[in-house]
Amino acid sequence: MAGRKLRRAQLSQEMCERLSRYQITTCQDFLCLSLLELMKVTGQSYYEVQKLLCKVSRACAPKMQTAYEMKLRKSVNPSSAFLSTTLHSLDRVLHGGVPCGSLTEITSPPGCGKTQFCIMLSVLATLPVSMGGLDGAVIYIDTESAFSAERLIEMAANRFPTYFDSDEKLLCMTRSIHLYRELTCCCVLKRIMSLEEEIISKKVKLIVIDSVASVVRKEFDTKLQGNLTERSNFLTRGASALKYLAEEFSIPVILTNQITTSLSSGPAIQADLVSPADDLSLSE
């Protein structure tokens, strides 16, 4: 909505032309100016400028909903609110499973089973709704080249032998898991930004990113000047893009993270003071 051109905010043609002479073409440019600057740029009086501000704001502002409407909408379709992990105690603690419409982070020291968990969730997402799945495709962004297709088939065949009774069913399942190998932060971000169309065309119901920490720690050395801000910039942009996708399509998004050391008392070492590392909901 920020990049919306002023033309579509229902401003008059001549006003838009006048503003474009000052390089103000989007709603974002317009709203970032102060009132005095706006008066100078539009040549209008104080009260007129306030009316224009309201018009442009109305074009960008989000729609209002009451909490009650949100609750009603959720209760219409309760089964689609979670992806059950089939681990009963975990499902109980999570009140149903991995929630749809928000980001879930899985963190552990190496070798505990994050990638295995992600592979299993991918299988579960492709199952039909009657078996507790989401009956959809999966987008798997792999940054560590840890995904093994053989392991995927082994898991599916052993876990659900009655459902995956033929090779054809297994192949059908593997066809709906789309794997992307991205090795740099830039590529990961670009891939996340391009996901919207893929989700619609391939009917994706789960996004897995395994793992965020490896690319970030490879590229950003927090001991160097300026890297901290760039890293948090990358993380928050990725986070807001993923949140938008999760909420817009009501699908779960799973991210994996690594562990770092939190040094509670130590001078001069610029370690991450808040662990787990590279927490996507907090930065720096």
Partner: protein, 367 residues
Amino acid sequence: MQREVGTLPLAPALRARLAAAGFQTAQELLDTGPCGLSKEIGISREEALEVLQVVRQECHGDAARTAGGSGATRKCTALELLEEEQSQGFIITFCSALDNILGGGVQLTKITEICGAPGVGKTQLCMQLAVDVQIPECFGGVAGEAVFIDTEGSFMVDRVADIAAACVQHCHLIAEAQQEEDLRKALETFSLENILSHIYYFRCRDYTELLAQVYLLPEFLSEHSKVRLVVIDGIAFPFRHDFEDLSLRTRLLNGLAQQLIIIANDHKSAVVLTNQMTTRIGQSQSTLVPALGESWGHAATVRLIFHWDNSQRLATLYKSPSQKESTIAYHITSHGFRDVQPPAVTHSTEGTEPNPRKRPRTEEEKQ
């Protein structure tokens, strides 16, 4: 009437023309009349008439202000302010320790900022306040409605429903204990459905949407005059990325703070903001400080910092014009934001190392 022409809120081009023609005070404009004005500076008669109307409106406003009436700047004595403050309600938080250090609860007409690391309970408190603002007056509440502006997507309707149900139950218990008619009558309208319908939710995805929404808030609040609480959950999140120009960010944040202060005062509502924490790397050590920089620290009137101490959540009143700095402990239960109960049951950690950032559930919560 002696007001200078350059200070009138006219279009800049018009002001330049008036100055070039030699007009200095507003009185001169009024004396010239619309036809004379249009001939002298070369504008149409309708435009000249508009100019004169603006001048009259401004001068009227000035006169009203100097006479001590209500206008853009209010003048009143400290005694009047004291009476106003004493009659004003507070929005309680259901954690009596927190209410005590705040002086009664979250104050109306003030901006309260809640800072803390992720997972410490900021959004929980915001959801609790969105429910508590609706408590009827006979139970000690303000009987208002709430606007919830969410920038991080952490608003969970089911959790709000749980908190609201617990609040309604609490009020029912009070009504039964006191057996008064008006309490019971108030409870008829204080139901889960009503509470949820009076929380107005806006999801802002980036700072442009947030700015736009705050520009439109005064209009929204005049339509919904019962709103007594505006929550912006996550004021830091949209401003922490995509900003190469930090001075622009400071300017936008200051503008936002000004608008929120005006909204808080004009509509007699409390404004609650949540902020993130960032690491400030000093000479010999690094500390966690509220995000968005030093200048943002001046925006809020009251600042609360939530933090952990091993496995206990603590709230520190960091900045307040009327209360002293203190720290209390609080709980997040399935009913919402509550006091820490005196430790009646010692809970075992079952042999596993407790995570210092999350506390284990106690017996009472297992239900």
